[in-house]
């Protein structure tokens, strides 16, 4: 009869002393985990439907609800965890690929948690960010080694063309690519509004650009992914930069998938595909089978916007990320985005998300080092992505060599996401990873943008404090400055790859 028990992941605890049967939980849960019995007037819960998004807990006016983890009761086994056993049960029942959302949740080492920052004392004063200017401004884009005015050019022309190829950022934190389709239009609007107000950038992801969002173009990076969804001339002109997406950290080597149910009329128009059809992004770009093909696409896009916008490339962090990045810079990219192991997604096969790729800390270190060894570090800006949880992670990434950092999961958490990893169902109660009009209403872009601006502001202030502590008052003096980092609990090889000394060692 071979069935296999699937333990509900969560248990809904309802304190009956506090529950007043106001039915708010019953009304809002998109998974129907709360049920109202009209006859008895009592609200009950169905644990197996709960995904642990905590939306009901948030709204309950008396605090009667508690969502608790419900660990599997499979006998303790260091190898055969409850999850391993239950995954097999699921797959033998369905014959399907197990899907998931958001980023890798497995206990691979988080190198950020093994890196510590310096502070200046005695020999070098720390700088007080409340009294001294602290500059986080940075420019994205490739830079020459020096000012060269060639025959037939004027100094003014060279300067103007340089500055137009650069994107100024008020803070080194950008919003990562999250497509309209994987997230709701209200979520995208929140990101766009917050990016504009904070002087940073947001990214279309693979979803094309909705007409309502064209006014936010000056703060936008438009993505050209393998499916080429929504790519037309106005689209390319709309943004401040163009990003060719070769891969992403959550699913290196495979393409994207937006199920047909999520392709509503608006999405169909924005992505330029028929309504109700699956939006499949192929694994490779079918016109890029080698590095020279990539160079052709980069220049084709530069021609299309008449060299007035930077064109960059986004790749997943894999084993050969250093030579790949080096090749990309040589192919003419103005910026390279590296998405690490912990990068998030709206939908991916769980086994790919959890087992493919390498951590971003190592990737940034080796790419930065390789580019410097080849004397071409200035030719492109490096943007790191994948699992940045707080401002300390950002500072450590810059010290390892990144020019700026993309945050995805953190931004969604600011909008309410509780990382329940069920984005692929399209039933996100927070109104983020859904197109269901009942649910998308729940994300008010005014509130969303406000929270994102707050997040960026808080992190920027913290970064200034940390910089001041290190005796640095300009972000460019931190970029690649591995001297400001020390490692704890890492082996020699790890430290060598990161280029960081062990804590306790001075100069």
């Amino acid at each position: 009869m071979a069935k296999g028990k699937i333990t509900p992941e969560f248990k809904i605890l309802r304190d009956m002393e506090k529950c007043v049967s106001c039915q708010v939980c019953h009304r809002v849960c998109s998974n129907d985990a709360h049920l109202y019995d009209r006859e008895t007037g009592v609200v009950t819960s169905e644990d197996s439907r709960c995904v642990g998004c905590h939306f009901c807990e948030n709204l309950c006016p008396t605090g009667a609800l508690g969502i608790r983890r419900n660990p599997s009761e499979i006998k303790l086994n260091a190898l055969w965890s409850g999850r391993a056993v239950e995954d097999i049960a699921r797959q033998s029942a369905t014959g399907g690929v197990l899907l998931t959302g958001m980023g890798n949740d497995r206990p691979f080492p988080v190198y950020f948690d093994h890196l510590l920052l310096n502070a200046s004392q005695v020999t070098n004063p720390s700088i007080d960010p409340l009294r001294e200017p602290m500059e986080l401004k940075t420019y994205l884009g490739g830079k020459p080694d020096r000012l060269e005015v060639k025959e037939g050019q004027t100094r003014e022309k060279v300067l103007k063309s340089f500055l137009s190829s650069q994107i100024p950022l008020e803070t080194p934190i950008l919003f990562s690519a999250m497509s309209y389709g994987s997230i709701s239009l209200n979520a995208v609007k929140s990101l766009a509004m917050a990016a504009r107000e904070s002087g940073t950038l947001w990214n279309t992801g693979e979803g094309g650009l909705h007409p309502d969002l064209y006014p936010f173009g000056p703060n936008l990076v438009v993505q050209v992914a393998s499916g080429r969804f929504g790519v037309h001339k106005d689209y390319l002109e709309a943004g401040a930069a163009i990003e060719i997406k070769i891969g992403q950290g959550a699913k290196p080597g495979i393409g994207g998938h937006l199920p047909g149910e999520k392709v509503t009329e608006e999405i169909s128009r924005t992505r330029m595909i028929p309504e109700g059809t699956d939006a499949l992004s192929p694994a490779p770009h079918h016109d890029i089978y080698s590095i020279e093909d990539l160079k052709q696409l980069i220049y084709a896009l530069k021609e299309a916007v008449r060299y007035r916008k930077p064109v960059g490339v986004k790749i997943a962090a894999v084993h050969n990320v250093a030579p790949i990045a080096s090749g990309i810079v040589r192919a003419g990219a103005d910026f390279v985005v590296i998405d690490g192991l912990r990068g998030g997604t709206g939908a991916a096969p769980r086994v790919i998300r959890d087992h493919v790729g390498i951590p971003i800390e190592l990737a940034i270190s080796v790419v930065d080092q390789r580019l410097r060894e080849e004397g071409q570090r200035n030719r492109a800006s490096l943007i790191a992505a994948g699992g940045f949880r707080n401002s300390a992670d950002v500072v450590k990434a810059v010290a390892l060599g990144a020019d700026a950092v993309y945050v995805g999961t953190a931004a969604l958490v600011a909008l309410g996401c509780h990382v329940c990893q069920k984005c692929y169902t399209g039933k996100c109660n927070w109104g983020i990873a859904t197109q269901d009009p009942y649910l998308t209403k729940r994300l008010n872009p005014q509130i969303g943008a406000r929270r994102l601006v707050n997040l960026l502001r808080a992190w920027s202030l913290e970064i200034k404090e940390m910089l001041g502590g290190m005796g640095i008052n300009a972000l460019e003096s931190l970029r690649g400055n591995r001297e400001q980092l020390r490692a704890v609990g890492l082996g020699e090889t790890d430290m060598r790859i990161l280029g960081v000394k062990p804590a306790g060692e001075a100069w």
């Binding site: 106001c22 708010v24 009304r27 948030n58 006016p61 009942y438 509130i447």
Partner: protein, 147 residues
Amino acid sequence: MKKIFIHEEYCMNCRLCEVHCIVQNSKTRNIIKAYKGESPKPISRVLVEEQGYLSFALQCRHCEDAPCLDACITGAMHRDPDRGAVLADEERCVGCWMCIMVCPFGVISRNVEGKRVISKCNLCQGEEIPVCVKNCPNEAIVFEEEK
């Protein structure tokens, strides 16, 4: 005059506005006691209208030329000179229901279990912000000056 304005695109039909209105108009102003203890349970002056995925909270509009003011036979319905709100004096109301019949928005209710008089939003007299507005989790109703 500050009024309650509706942003129906953000209403999620949770009806927390109704819950808090009930509490505000209860004797104890304590949610658990109001729901479980008080009898009759107070009624909400705000009601969420819904059709499909469209929903919004609707309460007395405190109209500039309020038909209910004219219709009231006892003068129980009167205007508050400070806030400009239309208030119902429950002591004076005799339950003729004329105001309910003339109200174009249908936002006056009959309080059948209690004193058999009408029940209507009074803009939360004594509060700075009406509790429905304060507790809406998505700012689907706001309290601002008329533009």
